[in-house]
């Protein structure tokens, strides 16, 4: 057994002793991955995993380092990038990944990706054609 694997085993025992909590956050993440394009809110997510919403936020942040809301936004932005690369219009991409306002989508996209959806799509298409 390598030194590294011994350390990994120690971290596993120290940081992840609670199987119930792990099942809750992993289950929540899977649910988000499969339903991110629909309307998702904390009340609903907490009911899915039979826990309070404040407890869910704490657990999700503890295990994944970000809140469920932040994760949903990241997931939607990643998916939107993929759609924009395929040539899907900005408005269609916005609605398809679960955002409900193209204007706020563009603002959010620029703040996360660094360029507007329009600029991102132009660059992606240009790179593809080179």
């Amino acid at each position: 057994m390598t030194y590294y694997f011994k350390q990994v085993s120690k971290v596993m025992n120290d940081c992840y002793p609670n199987k119930g909590q792990l099942d809750t956050v992993i289950g929540t993440r899977h649910y988000i991955n499969n339903h991110f394009h629909k309307e998702l809110n904390l009340d609903f997510l907490s009911k899915v995993r039979f826990t309070s919403k404040f407890h869910l936020i704490r657990l999700f942040k503890k295990y994944y380092g970000q809140t469920p809301k932040q994760y949903i936004i990241d997931k939607r932005i990643e998916q939107a990038k993929s759609l924009l690369k395929k040539g899907v219009s900005i408005t269609d991409a916005c609605f398809e990944v679960g955002f409900d306002s193209p204007c706020s989508f563009s603002t959010l996209f620029k703040s996360r990706v660094g360029v507007s959806p329009n600029e991102f799509q132009k660059r992606a298409i240009f790179t593809k054609s080179v």
Partner: protein
């Protein structure tokens, strides 16, 4: 500032290029000769060819401390870096079938599943799947 390139020290650039492209499935992006024995050689993920480039740098051959550091990490089984995987178990099986040696078989560790393999160029590399 932006992150465009990160590097992995390799003992043999040609051998590394073969391993990272033919075994791992990366794609060569930039290959510029710098001297008789070294190149600016980068690869990218096939699925994210506009993503971060990995510089396969021959540091262990030119700078003794780099060689010592690389060997110390390798001997302890510590990964030099890690790549994300959609399915660690499938990647593990595919790589084993190609003769890749793993020091850590697919192992669940809280919210991730990890595995560690030998890149044949002096490094342990970890693959990680978010659960």
């Amino acid at each position: 500032m932006k992150v465009k390139v990160t590097s992995i020290p390799v003992q043999d650039q040609e051998k590394a290029l073969k391993f990272y492209t033919e075994i791992l499935g990366f794609v060569k992006k930039v290959d510029v000769p710098l001297s008789e024995h070294s190149r600016w050689l980068t690869v990218v993920s096939k699925d994210e060819q506009d993503g971060v480039e990995i510089l396969l740098e021959p540091a262990p051959n030119h700078f003794e401390p780099a060689k010592v550091y690389q060997k110390a990490l390798f001997d302890a089984g510590i990964p030099y870096t890690q790549f994300n995987s959609d399915n660690v178990q499938l990647d593990y099986e595919r790589l084993v079938s190609l003769g890749v040696e793993f020091s850590v078989k697919p192992t669940e560790m809280g919210t991730v599943k990890i595995a560690v393999f030998n890149d044949t160029c002096g490094n342990n590399i970890q693959i990680v799947e978010m659960l």
